[in-house]
């Protein structure tokens, strides 16, 4: 006992040390384990975003943004290695599909388009618990809904829209001025269908006197982005699928009127070049770039594309471009395509790695990093970022027109609950049939609806 009394301070010190080590072990132990090295693989298609401090006289490459943002994240999380890979647009889906087939998808991906099939196959992580209350209020609803399947979200929204295709039009003001056609007025450059047709007739003309138009108001094409073609249908009040999301209804009287108008634009009104049944979206974009079309498709991003093509020598002559709304019927009102792109996280088995991948996705889509989309003239998926992003900027008016256009936005392909992709090729075939006049608009639409319903809604 005497010995114990004498050594009491030592005992107390030892006990304290043991207790401290136990507490430390309990608290610090897991943290230490959490800081284990993690490697995140990230795939993205080319986004030529200028990172902070990038020289203004240089054009950013597709590598600059992913490299910068990966390095920034690794600086904040030294135990994490981000291995990014920039995939070309051509072959993007094949490479992702092959990786999925091999059971080795990337940890995080910026898909060209969100695939619900991945959710159905159990390939994606739900992100609900990584979205804060602020995120849920700050992201546009339509942007969140793009990646919503069932009750869960699977996509961290990043950018608005798909180059503005199906949301707005591009005007060549020089060609409008040459033909004495007034532009639709600011602030929203909204015009009725009658005003559009009056302008379109005057913008289509024969330059060499051979009796055939060489310059046209606008281009149509069967193999164009689906969004642009569907925009024309929606303008007439037609809808792709019914409100109950149970069947395709494009063969409605409004749909037939819309398709008849598209065919007439080529053959009767001659405001659109012939050969639409054999052309694709890039043929139409090229015609606009060659100033053989006065009106093109897309949003502000397409202004940046013209600038890039000029630098690359693909366009010889610079020309001004204004954004305008698609025309509308007063009784129906304006309409635009609403969608969003972002990042998905593939299934993770290690909880800590899952946490860090989600952290990286959050980092990519935080307000600061999202605002870098400005260098591409992209509108972002966050309300708070868009508020001031283009204030005082060269293209502020164009962005404003675009934002006003998409305020009328709807998802053309119905809700995210249904995957209409299997019907896409039949939609194109329907347009090919109508544009080549091998079928009447009614026949082409009836056939499309029948095929599409069989493929998408069979068994529902």
């Amino acid at each position: 006992m005497a010995l114990l009394k004498k050594d009491r301070p030592l005992l107390v010190a030892l006990s304290t040390a043991v207790l401290f080590s136990l507490v430390w072990g309990a608290l610090a132990g897991p943290a230490a384990a959490e800081e284990k090295p993690v490697t995140i693989t990230w795939w993205i298609n080319p986004w030529r975003i200028a990172p902070p401090g990038f020289p203004e006289d240089k054009a950013p490459t597709a590598e600059d943004f992913p490299r910068w943002v990966s390095e920034e994240f690794m600086r904040l999380h030294p135990n994490v290695t981000v291995k990014y890979e920039v995939l070309t647009n051509q072959g993007f889906d094949q490479k992702v599909a092959a990786a999925i087939l091999a059971g080795k998808p990337p940890d995080i991906l910026r898909p060209i388009s969100f695939k619900q099939e991945w959710v159905r196959q159990g390939l994606l992580e739900p992100i609900d618990e990584y979205l804060t209350a602020f995120d849920l209020q700050d992201f546009y609803d339509y942007a969140l809904n793009v990646g919503k399947v069932g009750d869960h979200y699977y996509l961290f929204p990043w950018n608005n829209s798909n180059n503005g295709m199906g949301s707005s039009l591009l005007l060549n003001p020089r060609m409008f001025a040459e033909r004495g056609v007034p532009l639709p007025p600011l602030p929203d450059r909204s015009w009725t269908m009658d005003e559009f047709m009056t302008a379109a007739r005057r913008l289509s003309y024969d330059t060499n006197g051979d009796g055939t138009n060489d310059v046209y108001a606008i281009g149509m094409s069967a193999r164009m982005d689906l969004m642009n073609n569907l925009a024309w249908f929606h303008i007439f009040g037609a809808r792709y699928v019914d409100e109950g999301q149970r069947r395709f209804v494009l063969d409605s009287p409004a749909g037939v009127r819309a398709l008849s108008w598209l065919v007439d634009a080529i053959y009767k009104e001659r405001i659109s070049p012939p050969g639409a049944e054999g052309m694709g979206i890039y043929d139409v974009i090229n015609l606009f770039h060659q100033q053989r079309l006065a009106i093109g498709y897309g949003g502000p991003y397409e202004i940046g594309r013209i600038d890039r093509y000029l630098k690359e020598g693909r366009i010889k002559q610079k020309f001004p471009v204004h954004v305008a709304q698609f025309p509308h019927f007063p009784e129906i009102g304006p309409v635009a395509y609403h969608t969003s792109g972002g990042f998905v996280v593939f299934k993770q088995t290690d909880p800590y790695k899952r946490k860090m991948v989600m952290e990286f996705a959050r980092f990519l889509t935080n307000q600061e990093n999202m605002s870098l989309l400005r260098s591409l003239l992209y509108v972002t998926a966050r309300k708070s970022v868009n508020e001031n992003l283009y204030k005082g900027y060269e293209f502020e008016k164009e962005i404003d027109v675009y934002l006003r256009a998409i305020s009328h936005g709807i998802p053309y392909f119905g809700s995210a609950e249904i995957d209409t992709t299997p019907a896409d090729k039949h939609f194109i075939a329907m347009l090919e049939a109508a544009f080549s006049r091998t079928k009447t608009p009614q026949q082409a639409l009836d056939e499309f609806v029948s095929q599409a319903n069989r493929l998408v809604f069979r068994g529902r």
Partner: protein
């Protein structure tokens, strides 16, 4: 008569060097061809999911064989092969026959010229022809003065346009092979024919063609197989349109696997294609090789 095991072992030992030298090639063939084909056969019976596939037996085959688009693509494939193979082989034979009497230098010059498209990327060739066929500003419409005509947008002209492109651009390696085979025909035959008063055409029909038969049979089989596998032109130029008039099995397999992620159904299509091409090759060999001397 059964070979006794000891005799077999002795023969294997005697030919050991031959087997050893064949081994690398066999290994590559197995890894890159046999294993994928076997795996494709397995995959065709699965509802394939990256995490947790399900065995569905012949369901994928039933689905494929009851899909009208599959039969449409098969018919298109037959149309394409029936158009491309005879024209391309005929063109190669004609060019080889025309350039064969030339001096070696000129022969090589022409062979090189015809071979060049063969080493050019099919993507580049397709893009050039897309421009040629472009409705509003394509070269073909400019020459024919038919502005706006969509060669690739019309159900009647789209497939012939693809066939024409393939026939015009293809045949380089075939010309080289036929020329080489012509060179191996002994000159005595032609001298004897000349003495007998045979014309050039008669010499070609009675001597050259029969002696070229083994080469032509090989080219016919290989050409048919590659015609059934056509993909790049369709993918880049028509995407199977207009109204599915150019959709081929190769393109449908690609679309099913990489657009709709139905790997099982795509593998079932691939296995059916494999069986068809195999059967066509067997028939061609049986019918045409009866009087071929190797």
């Amino acid at each position: 008569m059964r070979t006794p095991p000891r005799r077999l072992a002795r023969r294997l030992y005697q030919d050991r060097w031959a087997y050893l030298f064949l081994l690398p090639s066999l290994a590559f063939f197995s890894v890159f061809f046999l294993v994928p084909v076997a795996w494709g056969a397995v995959l065709s019976q699965l509802d394939y999911r990256a995490f947790g596939s399900r065995w569905v037996g012949l369901d994928n085959y039933r689905g494929v064989l009851s899909d009208w688009l599959f039969w449409r693509s098969l018919a298109n494939n037959l149309y394409y092969a029936a158009g491309v193979v005879p024209l391309w082989l005929g063109k190669a034979l004609f060019v080889a026959a025309v350039i064969f009497p030339f001096r070696k230098l000129f022969q090589n010059l022409y062979k090189t010229a015809f071979y060049l498209p063969h080493v050019t990327s099919a993507v580049i060739i397709s893009l050039i022809w897309l421009w040629i066929y472009n409705p509003p500003f394509g070269l073909l419409n400019y020459i024919l003065k038919t502005p706006g005509f969509a060669w690739l947008g019309n159900t009647l002209t789209a497939m012939p346009a693809l066939i024409a492109m393939q026939v015009i651009m293809g045949g380089g390696s075939t010309i080289v092979l036929i020329s080489a085979a012509m060179g191996s025909i002994p000159g005595d035959y032609y001298e004897a024919a000349q003495i007998d008063g045979a014309t050039k055409v008669q010499q070609f029909v009675r001597i050259t063609l029969p002696l070229l038969k083994p080469t032509l049979l090989y080219l016919l089989v290989m050409g048919t197989i590659s015609s059934f596998q056509v993909f790049t032109n369709v993918y880049l130029m028509t995407r199977g349109g207009p109204q599915f008039s150019t959709i081929t099995i190769g393109y449908l397999i690609y679309e099913t696997a990489f657009t709709y992620y139905e790997f099982g159904a795509a593998s079932a299509m691939a296995m059916v294609l494999f069986a068809i091409v195999f059967a066509v090759a067997v028939v061609q060999f049986r019918w045409l090789s009866s009087d071929v001397e190797y």
